[in-house]
Amino acid sequence: MIERSPLFNAISYAMMVIGFLIVVTPFWVVLVAASQSLSEIARVPMSLWPSAHLWENIEAAWNRADLGPKLLNSLIVALGVTFGKITIAALSAFSIVFFNYRARMVCFWMIFVTLMLPLEVRIVPTYSIAANALSPFQTLLDTLGLTGLISALTGVEVSLNWNLLNSYTGLILPLVATATGTFLYRQFFMTVPDELVEASKMDGSGPMRFFFDVLIPLSRTNMLALATIMFVSSWNQYLWPLLVTTDRENYGTVVMQLKALIPAQNGTPDWNVTMAGALIIMLPPLVIVALAQRWFVRGLISRDK
C-alpha cells in the first residue's frame, strides 16, 4: 500500500470478514446440517456446530438419489461439453480472426447473436430438435424438392432421423452449440500481434501450423479459464437435462436429483440427508474452481483488455 492508514486498514479487514461470513455461511450451514442426526436438525434453533453423522447422511443421500451413476453421467457430460466447446470454439474463432473472407463478419454476428438467446427461452422448439437432430435438413431437402429427386434417381427414400433424447450426445451437443467460447477466443486472438502472423508466414508455415505451434501455446491460460467456465456451467445445467432425459435412471445428472432430495413425503423432514446430497453435488465444481482459480482469474483479466 501507498501509505499507512491503520484505521482504514481496520475497516478493510472488518468489511472483508463480513463478506467472508456472507459467502461462507451457506456452505457452513450445508456442512453442519449434513453432519447432524434427524433429531438434531429438527431442533429449533439448530446448533451451528457439526455433529458426527456426516457419513451416514451421505450414505443415505447417495442411495436415495442414486448418486453414483448420476455423478458419472454428470462427469461425462461436463467433460464432453468442455472438450467439445474448447475445440470448436478455437477453430471457429481462428477462422474469424485470421482469415480474410467476405462472410467473416456475417459469420461472427450469426454466432454472436446466439449468446443473446439462452436455451431457457427457446426450450420447447429445441426439444423437438433433440428428438430428431436431422429434421432441419430433412425439411430443407423436402422443401427444395430434393427428396423427390433423390428417390426418383436412386430409388432410395431419404428419411433422416437422429434421435438425441436419452443419450449423452443429446445432453452434450446443444450445450456445445452456445457461443461463449468463440467469443472469448476471439477477444483473445485479437490481441495477438500481427508480427507473429507475419513471422510465421515468413517461415513458410501454413495457417494450421501457425494455429498449432503459435496460437494454441499462447492461449493456454485462456483455454484453462474457458475449460473451468465450461465445466462449471455444464455440470450445473438443470433445465436441459430435465427435459432431454425421460430415462432418468440411465441418463440423469446429479443436479436434476436435487429436487428428489428435498423432503416432502412422509415423516419429519430429513433436511440432513438433503444437505448431504447437496454437499456431494456442489463439491466437484467447487474443487475445480478452487484449483483452477489462478489461471481462471488471469484468463479473465486478459479477456477484458
Partner: protein, 447 residues
C-alpha cells in the same frame, strides 16, 4: 465434414434399428409410462413383474415419471418425437386432452382386434362415464380408480367426546373447534393444491356444476360456473376455519404434506384419496387409531355420487401390431379377478368392475382391519346414478384450470382476497383457457 459424420451416424442408427426389429427378438417388448411414485410406484413395478412372470411372449417395460402431470407432458413430448410408449397412464384431468389428440387406439377396438372378450357393462357406471364417449364407448382402461374420502383420528374424536364419525360439514366444524379447545394445534390438515377433493368432489356430491354443457360433456364451448355455485359458500367457510386456526396449511411448500401430518398424528382430520388407505395403515404412528368415511355434506343436502379419480390407461398410436398384442394381453391380465384383488389389497384403489367388487366382498375382504372402510369408497362412487354433473368433468386443458383453482384458494386463505372476487377472476381466466382450447381444436367433434 461434420455433416457427413451426422449422415453416417444417421445411417448407422437406422441400420441398427432394422436389425433390432422385434421379429428377431425372443419376446416383444413394449413400454408403459406411469405417474405414481413412492409406495404406489413400487406396487406398479411389482404388477409389471407379475405380468412378465406370468407369460413369456411379451415383456412390459414400466417407466415411472413421478407425477401424473410429468407423465402427460413427457408422453406428449415423446409422441411429438415419435418415441411414445405403447401405454400411458393419464390422470382424470387429462382425459379430454387425450380424446381430441387423435393419438390413441380406442380400448374396445384394441381388445376386439386382439381377440379378448371384455364385458364392458361390468364397469361401474360412474367410472366408465368418465372415460367414455357420450355414446358410452370406453376409450381408455380405468386402471387405478379412487375417490376422495375423509380420514379422522378417532383418538382425537374420542377425546372431545364425539360419538361415531362426523357426517356433515357442520359436525366437522364442531369437532374441529372442540379439538382446538382440547389443545390440538392442527384439527384439520389442508393442502390448497388438493383441488380435486376440496373443490371437484365437493361440487359433485352436492350436485353443483363446475361448467355449463354438463361439465363440458356436450361441447367444447362450455364455460366454468364455479363462481356461482355452492362452492362460493364452501370457500368462504374454509376461509373462516383457516382464520380461526381450525384448518391448517400443510403441503409440500410448508415442508410437511397434509397426509404426513395426519399419519404423524399432528393433524387430526385430512381429506385424501381412498388410494392412501393402504399407505396410511402402513405409516400411521404406533398406537394411533383412525377411520375413513365418505366426504361430509352440508346438512339438508341430498348426497350424490362422488367422482372417480385416479387415472386410466391409454394405448397410443404408432406402435407395431405385436406391441398392441402385448398391450391387450396386459390389459386382459390386470382385469383377471386375482390380479384385481391383489392390486386393491396392496393399494387402496378400488376394484373397477361390479364382479370384482362383489367377489372381494363375498370373501369378507372389507369386514376387518386393515381393509375395513374401503368399501365406503364404492358406496360413495355409486351412491346415486351419475347425474349431469357427477358423471365427470370434460374440460380442455383442465390441468391449467386446476392450477387456477389452487391459486385461488391460496389467494383467499393466505392473501385475504375476497372470495367472490377471487373466484370471478379464476372463472374469467379459466374461460380464457377453455376458449383458447376450443379455438385450437376448432372443428373437432366431441364424440
Amino acid at each position: 465434414m461434420t455433416f457427413t459424420r451426422l449422415l453416417a451416424a444417421a445411417l448407422a442408427a437406422s441400420v441398427s434399428a432394422l436389425t433390432a426389429s422385434p421379429a428377431f427378438a425372443a419376446s416383444t417388448k413394449f413400454e408403459f409410462w406411469y405417474g405414481l411414485s413412492g409406495d404406489l410406484g413400487e406396487r406398479v413395478q411389482e404388477m409389471c413383474k407379475r405380468f412378465n412372470d406370468s407369460q413369456n411372449e411379451y415383456e412390459i417395460v414400466c417407466v415411472g415419471h413421478d407425477t401424473y402431470e410429468a407423465t402427460l407432458q413427457n408422453t406428449i413430448a415423446a409422441f411429438r418425437a415419435n418415441k411414445q410408449p405403447a401405454i400411458a397412464q393419464i390422470y382424470d384431468g387429462g382425459t379430454l386432452d387425450l380424446m381430441l389428440s387423435g393419438a390413441y387406439v380406442p380400448a374396445r377396438e384394441l381388445m376386439e382386434k386382439n381377440g379378448h372378450q371384455i364385458d364392458w357393462s361390468n364397469y361401474f357406471s360412474g367410472i366408465a362415464s368418465y372415460y367414455s364417449t357420450s355414446q358410452g364407448e370406453l376409450l381408455s382402461f380405468p386402471f387405478n380408480s379412487s375417490t376422495a374420502m375423509i380420514y379422522y383420528n378417532t383418538d382425537a374424536l374420542k377425546k372431545v367426546g364425539f360419538e361415531g364419525l362426523p357426517e356433515t360439514w357442520e359436525e366437522v366444524e364442531q369437532v374441529a373447534r372442540a379439538m382446538k379447545g382440547a389443545g390440538y394445534d392442527c384439527p384439520i390438515a389442508f393442502d390448497p393444491t388438493g383441488v380435486w377433493q376440496w373443490f371437484e368432489q365437493f361440487s359433485a356430491i352436492h350436485n353443483q356444476p363446475i361448467a355449463t354443457k354438463g361439465n363440458g360433456y356436450e361441447g367444447l364451448d362450455a364455460e366454468v360456473v364455479f363462481n356461482k355455485t355452492k362452492f362460493v359458500d364452501q370457500l368462504t367457510w374454509l376461509k373462516k376455519l383457516h382464520d380461526e386456526g381450525l384448518l391448517v396449511h400443510k403441503s409440500k411448500a410448508t415442508g410437511e404434506t397434509s397426509n404426513a401430518a395426519f399419519v404423524n398424528a399432528k393433524c387430526q382430520i385430512v381429506s385424501s384419496s381412498i388410494a392412501d388407505h393402504g399407505t396410511f395403515a402402513k405409516q400411521a404412528v404406533e398406537g394411533m387409531n383412525w377411520e375413513v368415511a365418505m366426504l361430509p355434506i352440508w346438512a339438508g343436502t341430498e348426497r350424490k355420487n362422488s367422482l372417480v379419480g385416479g387415472a386410466s390407461l391409454w394405448t397410443l398410436k404408432g406402435k407395431s401390431d405385436e406391441e398392441y398384442k402385448g398391450a391387450a394381453a396386459f390389459y386382459n391380465f390386470i382385469a383377471q379377478p386375482d390380479q384385481v384383488e391383489w392390486w386393491s389389497t396392496v393399494t387402496g384403489y378400488i376394484p373397477v368392475t361390479n364382479t370384482g367388487f362383489q367377489a372381494m366382498k363375498a370373501k369378507g375382504f372389507y369386514d376387518k382391519a386393515p381393509y375395513k372402510g374401503r368399501e365406503l369408497a364404492i358406496e360413495s362412487l355409486t351412491y346415486t346414478p351419475p347425474t349431469e354433473y357427477t358423471r365427470g368433468i370434460r374440460l380442455g386443458n383442465f390441468t391449467a384450470i386446476r392450477k387456477e383453482m389452487g391459486d385461488t384458494i391460496q389467494q383467499v386463505l393466505f392473501q385475504n382476497v375476497p372470495v367472490q372476487e377471487a373466484l370471478d377472476g379464476a372463472a374469467e381466466r379459466s374461460n380464457a383457457v377453455l376458449r383458447r382450447f376450443e379455438k385450437t381444436y376448432q372443428g373437432a367433434q366431441l364424440n
